[in-house]
């Protein structure tokens, strides 16, 4: 199977601190990989490097055969990588519908002049986008809330909206940053179903950062474990569960959601 994402020797240094050091792993197309590790292990930093928010100081990140390390975030998204954020970052002045709309800007074929002249081409495109956004919102049970302010949604709904927004960019790779944070067990089960659904319906590869072991062990095909910025283990859930290195890394550090 061809690998969609490949990290080779990736590292980043902030001043004297090596937040991530010599990280290697690959993801096959259509796979679901979990990135876990104690707090501060560098997981979100890895996400930020893949999505271009940070530039790695060493190593290379390859997506779909092309190097993306060092490219800006908006270009990387247009190449097919989308993400959600650990602390939800919705556009708070916009409605639920508009939040999804913004993610579809990259698919626009017409720009300013059409927005100003508002001819048939403009109308057709706006209709296409409206239909697409409403369809996505419908699939995720957010269609009724479409005209409400994004900030007025419940926490669980806001997390879902963030995922919908990321999906609206039409990605091949979806990065989810602690999607289960703050959820109760019922919501977590629904989340796991949601992720499985996204994979199958949209044929998307998913990379997950998560603290909740139930979620990780439940859906990931492969797991990479980080500690202090380094990979300490890689394998299937079964292998990771019994790995002494991993147990040691977590020893004394109780996951709050376990």
């Amino acid at each position: 199977m061809k690998s969609l994402l490949e990290l080779a020797g990736v590292g980043i240094q902030f001043g004297g601190l090596k937040a991530v050091d010599a990280l290697d792993f690959t993801m096959p197309e259509g796979g679901l990989l979990g990135l876990i590790g104690p707090n501060g292990a560098g997981k979100t930093t890895v996400f930020n490097m893949i999505t271009g928010v940070y530039r790695p100081t060493s190593g290379r990140i390859v997506f779909n055969g092309g190097t993306i390390s060092g490219i800006g975030p908006s270009r990387i998204t247009r190449l097919g990588v989308a993400r959600t954020f650990q602390n939800i970052r919705l556009f708070e002045s916009l409605s639920v519908f508009d939040n999804v709309r913004t993610a579809m800007i990259t698919s626009l074929r017409h720009g300013i002049s059409h927005a100003l002249t508002r001819g048939p081409a403009f109308r057709a495109e706006e209709d296409r986008i409206r239909a697409g956004a409403m369809e996505l919102l419908g699939i995720f049970d957010l269609a009724e809330a479409a005209d409400r302010d994004a900030v007025s949604l419940s926490y669980g709904d806001r997390r879902r909206l963030e995922i919908v927004r990321a999906l609206a960019t039409g990605p091949r790779l979806l990065l989810l940053d602690e999607p289960a944070a703050g959820m109760n067990p019922t919501e977590k089960t629904r989340l796991m179903e949601l992720i499985a659904f996204i994979r199958s319906k949209f044929s998307i590869t998913v990379l997950l950062v998560e603290h909740d072991m139930k979620v990780v062990m439940g859906i990931c095909e492969k797991i990479v474990v980080l500690n202090y910025g380094r990979k300490i283990a890689e394998g299937t859930p079964g292998e990771i569960r019994t790995s002494p290195l991993v147990i040691e890394a977590y020893l004394g550090k109780e996951s709050a959601h376990a």
């Binding site: 993400r83 970052r89 913004t102």
Partner: protein, 314 residues
């Protein structure tokens, strides 16, 4: 019929401006003057609102673009007016329109030059840099004898009237409203609300900021041209930092990001200016207190909808 609503409104607005102009001889000069000033302020406020309000880029140099447009259009009319004097009214109108557009384009070029280096700066730094650019433009004009230097430029033909002013205002509002209320235009607000999230959605935030800046500068330039051909005499001192602050107050009072709000605020403040004309000493003190109280008590102004992501706690 909804599909043609924007176009209908535009046509109606332009017609309204024309009617206003034809009715104007019935009104006294003083009232007409205030209405024209109000129109110019509406253009300034709406254009700055695109930059400051919708896109969240705090620019303190708007007066610089106004100056660029004022001087560019005035140079054009001063040079070419004698040539069309014989050709009659239609030629004069054409020249005026061309001069105004020239002023706007020149100002937008300045906007491009200012925007590209500045727009990667953080909010408060951007404010100071735009202030700096505004001052640089002013100092350049002041030291250029061909533009009249500190003495200013006089004898500009008095061609501004209610139609030109409110017609431009209508076009400005139409442009900005159409732009912002499209899918493309939602990008401006996304850039304002959360730049990192916007980039992550594939939005090229720098491009959006520059575009907002350039369009804002264009209309500021047109407002400058209209202003120059109203008062027929312009000097660099009239386009200083305080002028930029005047426009900022309108945008803040109206509510950053609300076009109707800033239009209302622009008209209101024009009237307030007139009322306080005899109390010039107190005018700026009133404005300053207004700013401070607004920020403390009602930062969203009259109609604003400002949900910028607060600075993350460490």
């Amino acid at each position: 019929m909804k599909r043609y609503l924007p176009h209908t409104l535009l046509a109606a607005g332009l017609a309204g401006a024309a009617i206003l102009h034809f009715v104007s001889p019935q009104l006294d000069d003083y009232a007409v003057n205030i209405l024209v000033l109000a129109g110019i302020n509406v253009i300034l406020a709406a254009s700055l609102n695109l930059v400051n309000g919708h896109t969240g880029q705090f620019s303190l140099g708007h007066a610089g673009f106004m100056a660029a447009g004022a001087y560019a259009s005035s140079i054009a009319t001063l040079a070419l007016a004698p040539l069309v004097a014989q050709a009659g009214q239609p030629a004069q109108h054409a020249l005026f329109l061309a001069a105004l557009l020239f002023g706007g384009l020149f100002a937008s070029l300045c906007g491009l030059l200012v925007g590209i280096p500045s727009l990667r700066l953080r909010g408060d730094y951007l404010a100071i840099v735009t202030l700096g650019f505004g001052e640089i433009i002013r100092v350049v004009i002041q030291n250029t004898n061909a533009l009249g230097g500190a003495r200013g430029l006089e004898g500009i033909p008095a061609w501004t009237n209610l139609f030109w002013t409110w017609g431009t205002a209508v076009v400005c509002i139409y442009t900005i409203a159409c732009l912002v209320n499209s899918t493309y235009g939602r990008g401006f607000i996304a850039v304002r609300d959360d730049e990192i999230a916007a980039e992550s959605m594939g939005i090229n935030t720098t491009k959006y900021k520059v575009i907002a800046f350039v369009i804002g500068a264009f209309f500021a330039g047109m407002a400058g041209g209209l202003y120059a051909h109203l008062i027929t005499f312009i000097a660099p001192e009239g386009f200083n930092f305080l002028k930029s602050v005047d426009v900022v107050v309108m945008v803040i009072l109206g509510g950053m990001g609300s076009t109707p709000g800033v239009v209302a605020a622009a008209i209101l403040l024009t009237l307030l200016n007139e009322l306080l004309r005899d109390f010039e000493q107190y005018r700026m003190i009133v404005f300053a207190l207004l700013l401070i109280l607004l920020m403390i008590l009602r930062p969203q102004g009259l109609l604003g909808n400002f949900h910028k992501r607060p600075k993350a706690k460490p």
